[in-house]
């Protein structure tokens, strides 16, 4: 069984692999990096280090990017490969167990960065592989 954490940004719901989520913090101010992309607009402090802020809202089908000074109600700290990233969200629900056969390739193209899709409480929801997303973003920056 996979454990998925449903999170909300505006009217978008995403599901993140709960095993990669290290902490769910409250609202955290973040520092914008001049000239940074809307997908990774800045950094925030976590356990004595600066970690990047990844804005899923900026990548959503109907973009709802963070604006400078905006702080969302929850901040996920997610382990993504060799690094940790912060994902500000408006809400996070209790993690749900989903059988692997209920997780499939994106069919409804809910979000362009969705690695998979499933249904939670009968509602299609995009599953985000944060580590893969980070690798994609790194590749885009280099390119």
């Amino acid at each position: 069984m996979a454990s998925l954490l449903p999170v909300q940004i505006k009217d978008h719901w995403f599901a993140i692999d709960a095993s990669a989520v290290r902490e769910i913090l409250g609202p955290r101010p973040w520092a914008v990096i001049p000239g940074a992309s809307s997908e990774i607009p800045g950094v925030l402090g976590w356990k004595g280090r600066a970690i990047v802020v990844v804005d899923l809202g900026a990548m959503a089908a109907r973009p709802a990017p963070l604006v400078e000074g905006e702080v969302r109600a929850r901040t996920l700290v997610v382990e993504a490969g060799a690094c940790f990233v912060a994902i500000p969200v408006d809400a996070a629900r209790e993690a749900k167990s989903v059988s692997p056969e209920r997780i499939h390739a994106p069919q409804l193209a809910l979000e362009k960065f969705a690695s998979a899709e499933t249904e939670l409480d009968g509602i299609p929801i995009a599953v985000v592989d944060v580590a893969a997303l980070i690798e994609t973003l790194k590749g885009a920056q280099k390119g």
Binding site: V32, G45, K138
Partner: protein
């Protein structure tokens, strides 16, 4: 990040401050002290791709130096010196950050209620100025 700790010249900018290692700053001149016959220094704001504080004055010329020589950059705003304790400067995950400015940043000081302070890699600034960028 002890290697970064030390004394910094703090330059105000819009929404944050910039910190240049004082060891890289050879001289601080008023703009009118800069020789008229010398090429005009480039704005540090433009080099880094950041916005200055609106209407910030006065303007100063910083002469930055290293073993390869000196370059001059123009800055604006009220400059100050600040000692930063070891461990207060956090390295930035530069590999994950895009954009022109990130390439010049070495670390950040984040303190509750205060503007972020970005530590500038003076070596990259001098290299960019020497290359005419």
């Amino acid at each position: 990040m002890n290697a970064l700790a030390g004394t910094f010249l703090i330059i105000p900018a819009r929404g944050w401050s910039l910190a240049l290692p004082a060891s890289a700053v050879r001289r601080v001149l008023s703009e009118h002290e800069w020789p008229e016959e010398a090429p005009a220094p480039a704005d540090l704001d433009e080099t880094l791709g950041v916005e200055p504080d609106v209407g910030a004055t006065p303007r100063r010329v910083l002469v930055l130096g290293d073993s390869s020589g000196e370059v001059a950059v123009r800055v604006r705003g009220a400059l100050s010196m600040r000692e930063v304790d070891p461990g207060r400067i956090w390295p930035l995950p530069i590999g994950l950050l895009g954009g022109r400015t990130a390439g010049f940043l070495e670390g950040i000081v984040l303190e509750d209620g205060a503007k972020p302070v970005f530590v500038i890699d003076a070596r990259r600034v001098t290299e960019r100025r020497r290359s005419g960028g």
